[in-house]
Amino acid sequence: MADTYQLSSASLDALFTAIQGDGRRILAPTDRDGRTELNPVRNPGEVARDYIQTTMSAKAAVFPKVEQLLSYTLAKGQVDLVDPEPQAVPTVVFGIRPCEAGGFAALDAVFNWDTRDKFFNARLDQLAVIAVGCTRRDEACFCTSVGGGPGSVKGSDILLTPWSEGFLAEVLTDKGRALQALAPKGFIPAPAVDKAALLVDVPAAFDQPALTAKLPALFDAELWGNQALRCIGCGACAFVCPTCVCFDLQEEADGQSGRRLRSWDSCGHSLFTLHASGHNPRANQGARWRQRVYHKFSYYPDRYGMLGCVGCGKCTRACPVDMNLQEHLLEAARS
């Protein structure tokens, strides 16, 4: 059960100062050069005021677009392997939406599936999330269809809900309590408040369990190929997605030394499943688009007991050809 407080704007200022005094950086949505993205900030005044979502997700804080996993040198027949310790910067992500905060669990499911990924875990350990609930939405949002909501507490250490008194602050986890302890005076016990009334209403658009149950039988349906006719096969959807976890491993080496890098990859790219033999089991964009949907709505529930989608709508907004995910899921649900 969360402890609920009221947090004034002045107290938020003090909290930002205290967090930085504790040696942590704060990443928050900022409006720079006409784009709203997560950037390091010093005080709440720098945080964007009027945004629904950032374009890119917060996953880069735990799963950067490129990271070095190891390096080596070769000399006189000897291999000198350097197994680097992760350099995790203590970070507070502020102002992401509850949907996106819930997305870290989907990354965790893969990075801790069998081998515990030390790079991911080091960053996650050093990360705290202060999400801000939604008072606005757009057509791309569908959190409530996938188990979330504009005030969902999943994945947040502290959830703030904008309120006439500043914010309603729910302190949810030990990490949240540790943040609170940095500036405890600002957290004043809140009177009973109807939180839902402070948030935007996002009606559920489809019955996700029914869709998940239906997908295996739709595998060979023409639907996917027809939907994908418009898809141009770029990776924008995967790279802005807070839960897309697929990566590529690349060796950059010459005769004397090398390094192994992990970088984001996308199932939308034709090269993603290309075998060394030349065979590609997902030979066309229809199969690749289907994989995107199935991985999130069929394989994730099967394997991890959760969805691989939080309904944030980033993919829909970033798509150059408007492959609106919710709309295509609705079409599948109705077919």
Partner: protein, 266 residues
């Protein structure tokens, strides 16, 4: 005849098997759409926001398999189709461009000549805003320009939306996807991003039809189209030809002329 009537007529008569145009998408904003039967002709729209270069679809295998295609042809689509003809990727009879006149009536441009004549009436494709940006970049010192692009390209995540949206990026197997050997680093680190965008702009020099769709497609807002615009304009300044002006265009960077003014090449 307006676009919806014309699409219906063409599909009913079997003259084409699909009409590629636009339909209202999320927030009502137009997005590419294929009308594949007369009953779908009514959903096509035209007008403001119908900006995407639909020519990027005509070389795709699943689209080719639909059969003969009519395509709503804005000037940038026409330039791309002509350039695709010049590069022998499509033939005149593969695609029927449908241009709209000022009254919204369809003008069928069934031949390359008709397309060229129609385009000749169009103004310079580069917008005032892009012209200003190009001029600003041109006035920068080399160090300033380097800093500008380093800053911009640092945001690149290599989603390849610029490549995927480009009508001239039709290669089945892109150099970026070659891994035996690996010509260009795959990760989106500084070197990988720089090499990718350099290769892309060099490969489009003399071929870029200046539609700007690569820049519009970029999810992180990098003005990547300025790179290819600049390369294209350099080729125009040096060789006097413009991509997308004609279906019979020799590629400047791979064509030798006996009367070349430069001596080093003889």
């Amino acid at each position: 005849m307006d676009l919806n009537e014309k699409a219906k007529q063409l599909l009913e008569a079997g003259t084409v098997q699909a009409v590629l145009g636009f339909e209202p998408g999320t927030h009502g904003a137009p997005r590419p759409a294929f009308a594949r039967g007369a009953d779908q002709a009514a959903r096509l729209v035209s007008g403001p926001g119908c900006d995407q270069n639909l020519a990027s679809y005509v070389t795709r295998a699943p689209v080719k398999r639909l059969g003969k295609l009519a395509v709503l042809a804005t000037p940038k689509v026409l330039r791309a189709l002509l350039q695709l003809m010049a590069e022998r990727q499509i033939q005149e009879q593969d695609v029927l461009p449908l241009a709209l006149d000022a009254a919204g009536q369809v003008v069928e441009l069934a031949t390359a000549q008709a397309m060229e004549e129609h385009l000749a009436l169009e103004p310079d494709p580069v917008s005032t805003q892009d012209r200003e940006l190009l001029d600003r970049l041109g006035r920068m010192t080399r160090a300033e320009r380097w800093a500008f692009w380093q800053g911009e390209l640092s945001r690149c995540v290599k989603c390849y939306a610029c490549r995927s949206s480009c009508p001239m990026c039709y290669c089945e197997h892109c150099t970026m996807d070659c891994n035996r050997p690996q010509w260009v680093p795959v990760p989106s680190h500084a070197l990988g991003n720089l090499e990718y965008h350099m290769v892309r702009s060099m490969h489009l020099a003399g071929r870029c039809v200046q539609c700007g769709d690569c820049g519009s497609a970029c999810p992180v807002g990098i003005p990547v189209h300025l790179l290819t615009f600049n390369a294209e304009q350099t080729v125009h300044a040096q060789f006097g030809q413009r991509a997308g002006a004609s279906a019979k265009l020799d590629y400047a960077l791979s064509t030798f002329r006996p009367d070349d003014k430069e001596n080093f090449i003889r």
